[in-house]
């Protein structure tokens, strides 16, 4: 702020010190008025920036995308034996993530319940042998290496700790795609400021990983006892 005041003062002084100089249109303004308009301009700039930064930018940054069709975790959860029935570990220890068509096909070769969404699924995907192009809320950039086995099997964490109570949801929430990165808003978190986080699952950035690891006293690599960038960034 001081810079602005100094600049203003200098300009005023310059106008006073050189009375003989030809007066330009802009310099006819009286010092008090000039100062007022500068402050007003500053405030306007500030206000515009705040509006853009807090309201317009988030609105432009995310584009709401529909999933191919709706899906109820709640309905499925009642019929199967826990998350791992569909979101399972493969024999080699890797995590399968969102199930592929072959697994769904076990039950959905024909329409079961008769909702419009299920019909879409069966007729458009199962019968045409097309994988469902799900938009994945928790998809991380390619350089991020994350082992579900280390967390779920070794550390015996619940799915809900990081993914929230999604197993109880009756429908899929809209997928808010970050137009720059292509990833979901769920990675950064709903709150654009990144503050007011109440649950672990509300965001999935590196700091969120670090928070838990700090709490659990696991801040370094198990092998090297040093900072462990390459454990996750490969």
């Amino acid at each position: 702020m001081s810079t602005i005041e100094e600049n203003t003062k200098d300009s005023v002084d310059a106008a006073v010190k050189e009375p003989g100089a030809p007066e330009k249109e802009s310099e006819k303004i009286e010092p008090g008025l000039a100062q007022g308009s500068i402050i007003v301009s500053f405030v306007i700039g500030l206000a515009i920036a705040l509006i853009i930064g807090w309201i317009v930018f988030p609105a432009l940054l995310y584009s709401e995308k529909e999933q191919p069709f709706d899906f109820s975790h709640e309905v499925h959860n009642d019929l199967v034996d826990g998350c791992e029935s569909c979101h399972y570990f493969r024999d080699d220890g890797t995590f399968a993530g969102v199930p592929k068509l072959w697994l769904c096909r076990d039950c959905h070769e024909e329409v079961q319940g008769g909702t419009a969404d299920e019909e879409t699924f069966v007729y458009e995907y199962v019968w045409n042998d097309r994988e469902v192009p799900w938009r994945i809320y928790s998809k991380q950039p390619d350089c991020v290496f994350f082992s579900h086995a280390a967390h779920v099997v070794k550390a015996e964490m619940d799915c809900e700790t990081c993914h929230g109570p999604i197993g109880e949801s009756d429908s899929l929430k809209p997928y808010e795609e970050n137009v720059i990165t292509g990833y979901s808003r769920d990675i950064w978190g709903k709150s654009i400021s990144g503050l007011n986080k109440k649950h672990i699952w509300e965001s999935m950035k590196m700091d969120d990983c670090a928070d838990c690891h700090k709490e659990a006293g696991m801040e370094s690599s198990v092998q090297t006892k040093k900072d462990a960038c390459f454990v996750c960034h490969k």
Partner: protein, 734 residues
Amino acid sequence: MKIDRRSFLSLGLGAAAGTALTPLPWKLTDDLSIWTQMWPWTPVPQDGETTYVNSACAICPGGCGITVRKVEDRAIKIEGMDGHPVNDGGICPLGLSGLQLLYGPRRIKSPMKKENGKWVKISWKEAIAVVSDQIDALRKNGEAQAIGCISGLRKGTTSQLLERFLLSLGSPNYMSIPSSYDAYELAVSRMHGRRMTAGIDAEESNFILSFGSGVIEGWWSPVRMIRAHSVWKEKKAKLVQMEARLSNTAAQADKWIPVNPGAEAALAMGIAAVIVKESLYDKAFVENYSRGFEEFRNMLLDAYSPDKAASITGVPSSVIESLARDFAGASRPVALYGRGNGSQPGTLFEAMAVHALNAIVGAVNRPGGVWAVEQTDDNDWPAIQMDEIAKKGLKSPRIDGLDPGSEKDPGSLVSRFSELAVSGEYPLKALFIAGANPCYSFPDSNAVKAAFEKIPFIVSFSSYMDETVEYASLVLPNHTYLERYEDVPAPRGMGKPVRGITRPVVSPLYNTRNTGDAVIELAGKIGGSVAESFPWGDYETCLQETFGEEWGTLEEEGFTSDSDFSPRSWEEAFKEDSGKFNFASAGFLDSVREIVPEGDDGSYPLILVPYDTLRLSGGYIGDPPFVIKTVEDTVLKKRDSFVEVNPETAGKIGVKNGGYATLSTPKGQVKVRVNHYDGIKPGVIAMPRGLGHGGTDEYLAEKGVNVNELIGPIPDPQSGFDGAWGIRAKLTRA
């Protein structure tokens, strides 16, 4: 209120301050950094389930089994198949880089037709129609015999389908590219009096006389032989390498005999002469199971006494004598035929000389020796249907003037191709090319290109944009071996029966089609008796019907084999008088013995020999990017090829190590750089096969010199096989 400069600046400053109070800069920085990882050219590894597919490698005739690691539908890595009878988990650099042949830049992505010198993509339907129209026109015109086919595919159903296709059209001009294995097989067949395949029970040998065979440099079945070489090291078997150049194999051998280039046959005969003279031969075999030994002995003692052999070969007679004694004294000796990787056939005399050497020490049909196994017809396909046009066409001689099916001269169609194609019995009017790149790999490749220019209609089945495709009128691109079903016959020199199968490891990436399917479809389109000769709906059906019960195992395991197989004993194999091993078989004792290289020694004082290395693929498929990167900078530097010259020879010419020189032979002239190399005989210079490609692959094209441009073929009068092992050359400082 007026907006002046100050208030405008103030507005900006306010905006800047305000922006700093929002998450925008931090969020944008974060997003942009992620965005930079998403650029389309950034490679992103496939994510998903890992699976393994057993298949076979079909890049070379080595017949290895492979296991391909996949993530979802993306092939990630090729490994050798554990437990496979040929390579048991091993793999060569070329096989390892096979994915670059699948995903790499030289693929042809769709059928194409050349219009006004430019390639135009067309549909398969149109492509098949264009070919069948051309064939129909030629057949109706009574020119069925003027249709030819060059196939680099060894045995196997695809080559059988192509040969069948030509016969059903009425053409005797199916040309299969021969290798040293074919020459050796012919030698064995002649000496055993029946059509034979030859296997080397290499792993069990304990004294190996290699007449220039690059056993660790790709000879016959590269991975199997490298593994056999390890076995030899373990059990202290002796390897003696005889060649003019210190190859990697020579460097790894127990003894290196720098024989004059082209004198390998004379050396084999010289060794045999000592064995005969000193009565070191296997009397049980020679006396009971062979005939013609007297004539053989007389010829040896007359023409290949140690002194005479020494003067031809440049190997001292004392060395020849001690080699003979060691070889005959070994319990499981074997002599190997075929220079370098064995791709060049060589003369029948040389092949017979090596096989005779095996026979006199009894190294035939016993452990550690050569196994001669009678050839059986591979399939029981129905007889080929022939209409009047086909019957008439097949009454014509081949373009080399010989009768169709002539056994006298199986190799001359290829070794004399450039001359025969335009001025043979009749000029070729149409030519199919499968699994081959004659415009690169045939000797005197510039003459081959000139011949190709004169053939009006050329159809290539190549998967890759190569030199030969540039001369084609039409391409019907094949799937790569990682996208197609195809049987892989037992590799060259495999004693025990093995059959592999390539299978679609990934779904075809482009609009390509299995050549087997293309041929069946083409026959169907031509119709009549040609269509009737191909009673299968598609190639996969043909494979299933051909292999019957074996197909199930092939599908499940990726190969079939008989590990308990052993060849017939001497008693069984050579029982009949007429079935005895014949040391005086036709074309041996009375044949032309040495091939004199082209060129006069006045104008061309040096001798240029080509050599093979595992780091360069000299055949149909050029080096993939990974493999070309392994070539040493004493062989290729930027775009310059090096020629190996003994420092003594280089001193006489006055070329420094690394200096530029002009290399000329009767076939052509190129600019090269000189690599001073103590491991080559003075007066001999050497260049590798596999460089100097054309085509469009920036990793391969325009790098170095194609040695095939510099060396012409010399057909062996006995077999027609190309017997040239080098050419006279001149090197001058540039």
